[in-house]
Symmetry: D3
Subunit: 321 residues, 6 copies
């Protein structure tokens, strides 16, 4: 009972066939000498940032006010180096994409990366402040929640907004590519997909969160609350005369302060504005603007209610134990 | 091409600014000397428990009836120590949260933790029994499924109910915080969010599962089946005279035995009871009770069907290869 | 403050009680001497395959056309061994499940496994070609996307279709169990649940993706695009005279070329065919066929819009900072 | 400041040149399809065995008499599988070496390996007993030692004799290759090089140990003590008529019961017998037998003692601080 | 070709036989409820200390004077916790060994451990100072050495004296057991065996080092240099009336300032004093005191030099290539 | 039972005191912005090189002539990058040491590093050839050895000469620092200390090896064999007028072809030449040259042999079991 070693002799030929596909025009690969940003190091940066934004919760136990300065100082220093390196790579990549596949040998990407890294790190006190409002909003908004510590440990909504605010600040500074890598990592962790371009006010809370989508050009005010499955999306995409997508214009809705959107509701369109302190009910599908202080719920849903279960809808089996 | 080391000189000043934010009133941090439950060790406990609940599937190959006693005995012993330690931390944290930020030096948290740990471990034979019914329900309920082994390996629904039943038993014993850490870990893995407080009968099956939310005060009978995207949620939250949320009262629906709820349906409200052997159709939005043996489906959905596709809805490009 | 060692004396008795549950008829365990496919090694195979399908993006930096042959050849060789071993295990497991719990000592599973492994590896150039169309479709279909590299790095839809195409090829070759392990791993990563049985044409794109379900017997044409939360599911399940599910017949819909289905729409039933170049709007619930070039959207949704927010729907608190 | 990618173009040619050297007659490589014993798994077996031989000291804390059975039973089971697999490989390798580079397809190496693995495991109670005498001898023989626990944790001599006794039992059972892999690993750890062939009585103690060499055909009685740097070696090697070494005959000395050999002494020759209860002094060089109860020390060493230090022997610098 | 599962049925019986040996009087095991110091954590402390003593060389790149405070402060804080915990365990173990196998429930080992941990950490500036002299002595003493950095990276002698000075300070503070664990770890790394009890002056240098043994009661002055294979040992051991070893009195020699001892020399005995600025030649065997400024070399070694090589000493083969 | 948190308040002050020691003149640290060669990556290079020099033995199983090209090509490519990077760092460090603590911003270290890296890799076929003679010499020289595979797996002498030949080639190319890092790593593994500067002919064999020292300026012919504890050292060191060591001139002996040196012999001095085919006996101490074909053994060693063992030399205890 063993594999036949002569059959393996075909593998080199197969290797050649695979490599041949790398040489086709338009093939998908990243073969060349400009390195891409390194995924693992970027995720490590996110973990480092979370250690600073929420000190004492995860990787390091036993922090107290007497030693936390050392801890933070040590992490900040490492972050400076990692971010400088990765942003430099991202800038180089961006030039390459935009400039026809070569990277400009004259540009000092490292220096540019460092400037952006430091500018970003300077935003940490602001991030601490605004994320504090998000944690508070989660605690105040969920009757099942027992403490702020539970929010930090157990709320995917806080995880998602934390990574979003990091990614969004980077994007505002002009860092290419990396914000999307971060947001997609967060999407994988939480099921919440917020594009780094979205502008979001303070005291933002997403409950449960799986399936939430917040598009690139959304603008969200303060004190907004979303439930699982909410989509803030585009109605349709504009194309130019050649049929190519027009990238970058406002395609996603605006939510003003104090808006609440319940589970699985869908709000679409770049001109759609949900006025402040409005409430959008569960499963509503909304493509136009509503005034402030408006409630939108599904028309008393038309349900067919029959006093029996037809055979084809019956559960397969019912068990007794 | 290198970063400028003089620019790094600003980092210590930045560190000080960040640390200053830890000292603000109401700041989010966990700086102090009572340790929180350790996330990694708790997740390790879940993995240990799965090894006992489903022996032979994952971490250890080659188990058979002759050696499994050693394996289980070795794991149980380690679990006793880990659970004792972590429950003690959780109890201490709970006292701190409730008692104004100090932990009671008189309380023997370790002894309390051990008592709860042992009481929990005693529930494992029961967990084996009831999870066996869940695995069976999955196999019988999915025509695409080939074997019970496939259920154990490949069904996120079984993963979610397994962690839920573990977390729920802990919560019943009064263990704070840890059940939520476990359920959130499971949510991250499966996209299924079941609060540890939910009461769920035997032969429970969630198919596909992404986006399912089961709230804290749900009561679910036996032989119930849910599909992806189902929300069993609250209608609205009661507040007391100060405008603070009232925590703990029944806010989520009751499903009696034999209920089936199809994909993306939403059932809301603490007084909503779905009578036994009823079927709730896909995408239904239900906020009131229904009798046993009832079928609820969307009214023949009013769709606008046009024999053309307007330009703005057309896919961007259609390719030929 | 310490745990009481005498209390631990109950643990051996508990171990015996747990092990007793393994001996019950119908108990869920995998105790025996035929090994299951190894989950970790299968996931490693997926990672190896992604390195070949998208060279240069992830695990190995610095690949270029001069060295990539070595890299691919080295991986292919290892893949041959791992796949041979794991497919042999899966075949053995399959015989055991079908043949009453013993594995046939006469069968040379290793040789069969090798034949399937090589046949699968021969499909890699084809997979490269068709996945190239999927990456292209994602780039062309999302105005927020800046480069093909971003698609490979940041699009869960590409991740999902990549694993699906791998798993589907394996299933076509008759490999049991492993395709489902792969697809469930992908489901966990992306929130997109595509059954390995589904047949999917070229230029396929899923945007955002969380909550998408594509059933076992779906048939999907070329140039199809799905958004998050789309379900392509079964209407109900046929049972035989004994009440057991009939497994394997067509239960899920067919989408012809160029179909677009927007977020959270649900299309159900094995006889439902969505004609080519049709568009199904967001949240539509469709259980019957539509002609080619048809647009289906929700009837101007009946919403109740009130110029106030009732107390019970008001957000708990609105903050100022 | 970057490397020149064109220079890398020479690497494929270099690869070819290197691979060409693998094809030369007599080249050192292990290219083929019979696997060698796996070094890492063998070292893991040694670690497992130490956990059983000295329970509670290293990898697992918190063992007590109530749980140790599970721990040992679990390890023994795993050891059975690993040893079976590795001994099978070693037997196969041995046949290949002896039989002209092919391994016999008729032989059931796995079955032979299992028989040897079980026979070896049956020797563990004996190993426990005799290693207990070695630990005792270390404690009684070193005035700097505070407890038996210190011996187990901190004495390289015990480490070396432990691995030796394991390897020696295996060799007695006819296991090829693996005993040498184990002894060399121990040599690397401790600087003590004992060939698995050496026969050693109970209550054996090596103090400090670095540089000790005990040859393949040594015979050592009970209650023997060696210090660092002791060599028990061969005088010279017999060759056959073709000038090849004669392998296997007795080339190393015999030490009878109660012998003590002080640091850096050298005892050579297969016919050299050190009679019982003799003492060999530090740095002695002995190539002939001595009677029982004999003391052998260096002749009052002839030292040249001068009341000055010539310039060329002076230390380079003398510092004050 | 497979192992026979029925043969494995003997393993549980074997497990019982092994466990039975744990219950014998005098058996070597550590079964019980007082934990031993944890080997891995102690080695981690050594690594942490080396990071502080030689900042910038190993685990962390990119340290500079601007960030090193954070780095050191963060490590010191963790060291405090680890050392407190491990010293507490060691004290508890010590009481148990001395007090008849129980640990005193009244003693606050943790508090004692903390006091010792802090007292030890206070010695770090002193350790920095004196180890600086050792590094200097190595650089000045080896003509093959190019820089101080090479000393820190590549000199096992510096590694050995570093760990010795750490362990010795701990021992002076009364910490039991742990200093020996540290010194044995260093012995394993370097082949240099210095007992933590040895007293050693500044500017100490061991070149090459393998096989060096420095006994517990050695006293070594300043500016001393040893070469590989040097033994500073005991002549013989005193026993009390019961024949038990007398532990603790001075058994090893004294070397005064400026002494140099060349390779493989042996100096023995507690009353042996090598006077300051003396030189002991290679391979000398010395058991009595010598005056200051004395040179001791082997008497012009009596060698037998024959103008031929007898057959039995000839190398086996001489090759041409 | 807990540590006192107020005591920890002294730690920041201690941190400051430690950091102050980094600022002292002549303090040992590596604080600054030129990175040192990275120890871990250099050791990884050694492991990669061993995979190429002895393919199929260690890290990768299942290599055969059909796939080994891919494996080697993949490793070579990675080695090019790692060596380029590390040699650049070493060159930069060297300039810094020689040039007064700054590294030259004009020098393109990376380009220099690449040139050296490629020149080194070109030497691999030569290394394969000469190491093949060493493996052969070990097999032919040890009657206890069963196969060449055993040599590769189990002979520290081969390990040591392998790393030496790698390090020596690098040194010949002018690579600073790294050769010493490699040789010291090998010293730690094997107890054999060969300076990278030593020149060694083909068919070199060190048996057992612990304690062997081969100095920087040794010259060793072909077919030479050393046993454990052999020192090829310097007699004394020349100093210049300032009392500083003269670095670099020949201080260590020359061994001509076919010389054998038995255990613990010492040969010293830069002018000492051991003529070809001479044999130096165990423990001989030689500081002058000998003619070819000479045998040097210790004068019939003057031993004092007494027919009794004085009390002070008696082993402590003799046991019966």
């Amino acid at each position: 009972m063993a594999s036949d070693f002569r059959l393996k002799e075909q593998l080199p030929r197969l290797t050649d066939r695979i490599v041949a596909t790398y040489k086709c025009a338009g093939a998908v690969h990243y073969l060349g000498h400009c390195p891409l940003p390194n995924y693992d190091e970027i995720i490590e940066c996110v973990a480092d940032l979370k250690d600073i934004l929420y000190p004492g919760y995860r990787r390091r136990e036993g922090l107290h006010i007497g030693n936390v300065t050392y801890h933070v100082g040590d992490i900040i220093d490492g972050l400076h180096d990692k971010l400088t390196r990765q942003i430099a790579r991202a800038l180089q990549h961006d030039d390459r994409v935009n400039g026809g596949n070569t990277c400009d040998p004259e540009t000092d990407y490292e220096a540019k990366g460092q400037a952006m890294a430091i500018a970003f790190l300077e935003r940490i006190p602001y991030l601490r402040e605004i994320l504090g409002t998000d944690a508070r909003a989660a605690y105040d908004g969920d009757p099942a929640c027992r403490s702020i510590d539970e929010v930090v440990f157990c709320y995917p909504g806080l995880e998602a907004i934390t990574v979003h605010r990091i990614a969004h600040e980077m994007r505002k500074l002009g860092v290419p590519f990396i914000p999307r890598m971060m947001s997609e990592w967060s999407h994988k962790q939480t099921g919440i997909d917020i594009h780094p371009g979205a502008i979001i006010g303070h005291h933002f809370f997403i409950d449960h969160g799986t399936g939430v989508v917040v598009g690139e050009t959304c603008e969200i005010g303060n004190n907004v609350k979303l439930y699982q499955g909410v989509t803030l999306g585009a109605l349709s995409f504009a194309t130019d005369d050649d049929g190519n997508l027009v990238r970058g214009h406002k395609r996603h809705p605006t939510l003003e302060d104090g808006v609440v959107i319940y589970a699985n509701a869908t709000v679409l369109g770049g001109r759609t504005v949900v006025g402040h302190h409005s409430v959008i009910g569960s499963s509503v599908w909304l493509t136009h603007s509503v005034e402030p202080h408006t409630t939108v719920v599904m028309e008393k849903p038309k349900l067919r209610i029959r006093a029996e279960v037809p055979d084809e809808l019956k559960p397969e089996l019912n068990y007794q134990i």
